[in-house]
């Protein structure tokens, strides 16, 4: 999504590689450091849960709506989770309005995978009547300002929204679903945390900025579940990674993930 100016890119890349060889970055961070993370929850009163997240200059807002839905035929006794992401045209100079492109679809699917595969939410309790009605969670993210690493900002925003969301309690009344008006927290079991890293000339950096993404060779996102497991992963961009880089990425995902998890728990009152 950053503007792809060949000349600027080539010059920047040379400068960046020199800095990276000294173990530092354009903005002065160490290789595995992430930018300042700010999380504000409950920003949209009409949503069941919401969060505004900034990661450096990347800013996103997530809103979660929870309603009744019809289960998928292969999972009649489980609630639904549907993640969407849109990079709004107001988020950078080079963007245009339109349906989500492949990058936005990948973004939503990688965030979805982290939440789903970590089993963050106890979906088996999100059932109104098995096979008929279940709770459906719609998590939508709008990217407001692009400065790299949309994956993590989006992921943290959805997780923070879910941690603070209140959902209505539905009951069956005959064949119809009735809203009792009672509001309860979402049944959360774990707090998944993603960490996205970029490989630039074989050096791995965590939480890349737009400038870094413009010159990166490959990207990798790994999500951990806080119980010692890696639960989702995605390599991206047309470059390659070595096995050593991927194992380093896994180490960082676990260690940095723990720090970020603590910050998310604190910001959402789940500490």
């Amino acid at each position: 999504m950053p503007s792809k100016s060949y000349v600027v890119e080539t010059l920047r890349r040379a400068q960046m590689l020199e800095l990276l060889s000294k173990g530092t970055r354009l903005d002065g961070r160490g290789l595995s450091d992430i930018r300042k993370l700010e999380i504000q929850t409950g920003v949209i009163g009409k949503a069941n849960g919401s969060a505004m997240v900034s990661l450096g200059n990347t800013q996103v807002i997530a809103g979660v709506k929870i309603d009744k839905g019809i289960p998928f035929p292969d999972t009649p006794d489980k609630g639904l989770l549907i993640c969407g992401a849109e990079v709004l045209p107001l988020a950078a100079a080079n963007l245009e309005a339109g349906p989500p492109d492949e990058s936005a679809i990948e973004l939503a699917r990688v965030v979805d995978r982290g939440i789903r595969e970590s089993e963050m939410i106890d979906m088996s309790t999100m059932v109104i009547k098995a096979g008929k009605f279940v709770y459906a969670i719609f998590a939508d993210v709008n990217v407001l300002n692009v400065d790299g690493n949309l994956f993590d900002a989006t992921s943290y925003a959805v997780v923070a929204s879910l941690l603070t969301a209140k959902m209505p309690r539905f009951v069956m009344e005959g064949d119809a679903v009735k809203n009792t008006g009672e509001m309860n927290p979402v049944p959360v079991l774990k707090v998944p945390v993603s960490l996205t890293m970029a490989s630039i000339g074989n050096t791995l950096v965590a939480d890349p900025t737009s400038e870094e993404e413009a010159v990166m060779d490959a990207r990798i996102t790994l999500t951990t579940d806080g119980e010692g497991n890696i639960c989702a992963g995605q390599k991206g961009e047309p470059g390659a990674l070595t096995q050593e880089q991927i194992l380093t990425a896994a180490d960082w995902a676990v260690s940095k993930g723990n720090e970020i998890r603590a910050a998310i728990k604190e910001a959402t009152g789940r500490a």
Binding site: I105, R116, E117, I230, T242, L247, A250
Partner: protein
Amino acid sequence: MEEKRKLIDENGIRTDGRKWDELRPIKIEVGPLRNADGSAYIEFGKNKIMAAVYGPKEMHPKHMLVADRAVLKCRYHMAPFSVDERKNPAPSRREIEISKVIREAIQPAIILEDYPRTAIQIYVEVLQSDGGSRVAGITAAALAVADAGINMRDLVVGCAVGKVDGKIVLDLNDTEDKEGSGDMPFAFMPNYNAITLLQLDGLFTPAEFKQALEMATEGARKVYALQREALLTKYFAGATAESTAEEVGE
């Protein structure tokens, strides 16, 4: 995803009779399509996948062309009859994401700089799907690119590993993919040890992740031997692998 039934029996045998580190039967053919500039067909377990390449050709739309190299495009698509329940033929979000990761997995192997201002289009059509269709698709697509005579640094070959009944196993079949507890598609350029596709879902400890990565590399090397043999069969029919290695100057 909880496991509903045992997928590995007490003798360590999987639902389709394989051992933990065994690949499904694989059949590869290079150049089955006449019109395409390059093509390949792969059967990987029950997967039946056709890959085709057109290009280098004129870039459309023109404003998308790149002055100093070719632009690589990729479409992964599943036929409506390829799965148990008919699939809507319109591209799903899953297919759009897979098209992107396949393109990014193959791109490092193609010397795009040799074809400035052009487009190279890869098609991966899944005619029948089983577990691991994206990695089988990559294996076929890389062959189709080679068959098109496009300059490459290496082939790209894929293989998935997964977690079934708490054990890391090679090359998941459909049942293991759906009922197992983890899946990790993987692809690499075998002569560079450069990993060009990695996805993961399910729960893996860091130690299992490392084991999975090593097992995938080893499995993909076995697929690479078959991939290379398929290319030699088309272009050096009758010759042995050793004598052709000399001919191609290795």
